[in-house]
Amino acid sequence: MLLTLARKLMGLIGMVLVMSLIAFCSVKLIPGDPIMTMLGGTHATQATIDRLRHLYGLDLPLWRQYLHYLNGFFHGDMGLSYFEIGQSVNEIIGSAFLTTLKLALLAFPFVLFGGIGLGIAAAHNKDRWADAAVSTLTVLVSSVPQIAIGSVLILVLGLKLHWLPVAGFDTVSEAVLPVFLTALWPAASLAKLCRACMLEELGKGYILTARAKGLSNLQVLFKHAFPNTLVPLSTSAGLIFGHLLEGSFISETLFNLPGLGRVSINAIGQRDYPVILATVLLATLIYGMMSFIVDMGYALFDSRLGVSDE
């Protein structure tokens, strides 16, 4: 058990190293010069440019830049932003991540309970109206772009009916729309997966055994079928949570939230290398951690997937 744990953690560190290299290289491949971007259209002297280059370590050979960066990363210092002069990357990412984390934590329960609840309801009522309703809803949500749904919600609920505020994230009523929009797509995809998994399990022999024991429909659904879907569902839920933690450019822009999604997209536009690198590594870390947690969860859900040291 401990050995497996250690091995998985080592794998995680390896993955971060590899990703840091890939991210570093791809950032360097983005056309454009960060110093020139930083200076904008001003006519700076060559001396100023050289000084800035030296200040940000951009005059060093690439491999030294990488090592320097890695060293900073493992000491928890991601360097200085190229764009927000004087601000450290830690500050920028830190505050954006807090906003995103808050949104993700609020949306995730809705994703879990909404998605799984709808999925089970649809599977239990296969080929009846409840199933058709859930299927229609999931197709609708996954095919209409988030930005369209979001705009319509803002327009109708916010601007026309004045039921909900359209920006901000500090009060409950302000949080309703962003949380709903963020949870919508993941919930639909989880519902679809849950329905398919439940239908597969409900067709299996042990379900008939359970019915022949005299169990009720609810007992059959929740005590027998559902626990068997936990492995695929937890995999998906883990990835969804990771995805939520990355932030969403669209909903953050729509509701004017200073989250990770906007920070990372803006950083790419501004050639803000340290911020880009930091967001990529953060995402890697998040996904690594999520898959680590999900892996550990498997053993809990299904003894056949038990963690062993062989």
Binding site: Y206, T209, A212, K213, G214, L215, H224, N228, D302, S303
Partner: protein
């Protein structure tokens, strides 16, 4: 109490196949006495399992539906009972074991918990009492170390062991009737014998009746007292085992028995019944077996035969041996 434990009258169970409703079990009538072992034999697809599921009212709906008939269990018609009342009977008074022990147990629940569940459901036991009882039951079905097995999961068990667990589960509430749907088909021969032995012992010691569904006449000969032969959704012959094997009446039964290989026929080609069973949904007029029967005459093609008594507890559904057909108005030949 002289009345039969279970009486099935005119059961008709239909399934929707390609948009049409097809009777899979069509006018099934039979009874099982208390403590009796009755075999139900027939080819795959003849409606044996559907008949069994109908008794439990567990026919998957959709696509299946019980259209008519009565299922009288202890003087009460199960088909008029509510789902809630039926749940009190399933697993408690009538239990069932299935063909494939590999898929019949929940892979993510421990063996003990799955056995205990039935007891908790019907006998009001708590988890701890149920688990203790599970150990006793596992011992009863010949599992060597029941104490360690209760906390095991199904994937650690062989097919034979799983079927023992299923039997332990099925007898846990002392049912009056156990329906065994091809309980040994998925197992190899030595294990088959052991499983049958266990079933026979439990049946004797607990006085429960068994409806044994199989396509293996050898198994029927071994443990059943009475046997019913099913063909294309109908019971075509029913007789005590010794009589059926010694003196089969229906041409189909004769064909089945002659198809069983025996030591005298070593080296010969195995006998078969020519033709194939009708596909479900084929329109059938007259006797369902007539396209494959060597004795077919005009009436067999036109009119469906009915079960008639040909001896003590013996019934056959065939025009053969009847010289005049009252009510039909046709003479043979």
């Amino acid at each position: 109490m002289n009345r039969a434990l279970l009486e099935v009258r005119n059961l008709k169970t239909c399934f929707r196949v390609e948009g049409r409703e097809v009777a899979i079990a069509d006018g099934i009538t039979f009874h099982i006495n208390r403590g009796e072992v009755v075999g139900l034999v027939g080819e795959s697809g003849c409606g044996k399992s559907v008949t069994a599921l109908s008794i439990m009212n567990l026919v998957p709906d959709p696509p299946g539906k019980i259209r008519s008939g009565q299922i009288i269990f202890e003087d009460e018609d199960l088909l008029t009972k509510s789902e809630k009342q039926l749940r009190k009977i399933r697993g408690n008074h009538i239990s069932m074991i299935f063909q494939d022990p590999m898929t019949s147990l929940n892979p993510v629940q421990s063996i003990g918990r799955q056995i205990s569940e039935t007891l908790e459901q019907h006998q009001g036991l708590n988890r701890k009492q149920g688990m203790d009882m599970a150990q006793t039951l596992l011992k009863l079905v010949g599992i060597p170390s029941p104490k360690s097995l209760v906390s095991e999961y199904p994937h650690r068990l062989s097919g034979g062991m799983k079927q023992r667990v299923m039997i332990a589960m099925a007898v846990s509430c002392n049912p009056k009737l156990m329906i065994a749907d091809e309980p040994t088909t998925a197992l190899d021969v030595t294990i088959q014998a052991q499983i049958l032995e266990i079933m026979k012992e439990l049946q004797k010691s607990r006085g429960m009746a068994i409806l044994l569904i199989t396509h293996d006449l050898g198994i029927v000969a071994e443990i059943a007292e009475r046997v019913m032969v099913m063909y294309a959704g109908k019971i075509v012959e029913s007789a005590p085992v010794s009589r059926l094997f010694a003196n089969p009446q229906h041409p189909y039964t004769k064909g089945l028995l002659s198809a069983v290989p025996c030591p005298d026929t070593v080296g010969e080609r195995l006998r078969t019944i020519k033709g194939t069973i009708p596909r479900s949904g084929d329109h059938l007029v007259g006797c369902r077996f007539h396209p494959r029967c060597e004795y077919t005459c005009e009436i067999c093609i036109k009119h469906e035969p009915f079960l008639r008594e040909v001896g003590a507890n013996s019934y056959v559904s065939c025009w053969q041996g009847i010289e005049r057909y009252p009510g039909v108005g046709l003479n043979r030949e």
